[in-house]
Symmetry: C2
Subunit: 212 residues, 2 copies
């Protein structure tokens, strides 16, 4: 715990222990049933346990939901950072954006229950839970802003584009995939390429005259 002030653990992988199974089960239920409908009894039953047993692993229901929310953002954040670190320092706009979008989408859809739960229930959890989760979300948003900012200063992104709103548009387009992506119907690499093409062309070209 050197780099953050949080004492919460963020699990990395599908794992062995009851604690990990509880988190994965809770994420799946939060995603599909919502925050309020996902009772401790429901989580416990889906783990073949009883409600009281959850209190051995967690202090409260809110601690469970808090960890689920953090995992959803942290896994995507880590994946995008790792993917971009593999690029050379002089990579072009198209390369950087394609890499970041594909990494975001891949992590988003790989940890589907955690990320989808995050998107769906964030607005419904108690205020103190949302508050403690906010710094992580803000950090990830700022990471994207700092990714685009030098590209605009160097002229690769047209000066007319508002980066704050560009990130909002991008997050919306990417995160909405949790609602429609189906691995049997789509190829993730192709989806990432199409989205990157759309955004790269939209950001780098000069603004055309509209007909109205």
């Amino acid at each position: 715990m050197m780099s953050t002030s949080s004492t919460k653990q963020v699990a990395e992988t599908s794992g062995a222990g009851s604690r990990q199974m509880i988190l994965e089960t809770a994420a799946r239920l939060f995603r599909h049933e919502g925050y309020s409908a996902t009772s401790l009894r429901a989580i416990a039953a889906a783990c073949d346990m009883k409600a009281g047993s959850l209190y051995y692993h967690f202090e409260s229901r809110d601690q469970i939901v808090s960890e689920v929310l953090d995992i959803g953002v942290q896994r995507v954040f880590d994946a995008v950072k790792a993917a971009l670190q593999a690029l050379t320092a002089d990579a072009a706009l198209a390369t950087i954006l394609h890499c970041a979008i594909e990494a975001h989408l891949r992590a988003l859809l790989h940890s589907h229950d955690f990320t989808s739960a995050n998107i769906r229930i964030l607005g419904q959890v108690p205020a103190h839970v949302r508050e403690s989760h906010r710094s992580l979300r803000r950090a990830y948003e700022n990471y994207w802003l700092e990714l685009l900012s030098p590209l605009q200063r160097s002229g690769q992104i047209r000066s007319g584009a508002d980066l704050q709103r560009t990130v909002y548009f991008l997050f919306g387009a990417m995160n909405w995939a949790t609602e429609w992506y189906d691995e049997r119907r789509f190829d993730l690499a192709q989806v990432a390429t199409e989205m990157a093409d759309l955004v790269v062309l939209g950001l780098q070209a000069p603004v055309a005259q509209r007909g109205d």
Copy 2:
């Protein structure tokens, strides 16, 4: 009830009666508290009524949530249709997309509680509620596909763009505005223009070579 098989009413405006107030109050609570946490008592209390009284206006809790969901899509659908009907038949890609995006965003954020509730709780309502709502959502999605399809056939949209996914990207970017848009910080017309510029340029230009 001539043009649809549904018996549900879809209210058009902020209105007078208790029924309308119940729907607006329910939408606000569904948005912020979620489907399951929004009890009949909570809706009634926020209307200065008692839970039992709601049964005079609605048959069940699910009928309330069902109408809230439909209103959220129907208002946006109607607004976009009306805005596009004001355009001439030979309007260009940029004009059509800018008009449709601005109309969608304006209706989305004007009926904020209904549309935001729709996006947040759709995945959490009982299956039969979601099922009865599906045809309306599908119709609106198809409306956008049929808007873009002739533009691709005429060459205004590059042939490499997959229209189904383009609509998903667009819906994601637009609907995410329910989570970040603040009328005190942003100008809606400007947001619509920026989003339209991004998408128009991304769709009409030929695909550039990526550096990787």
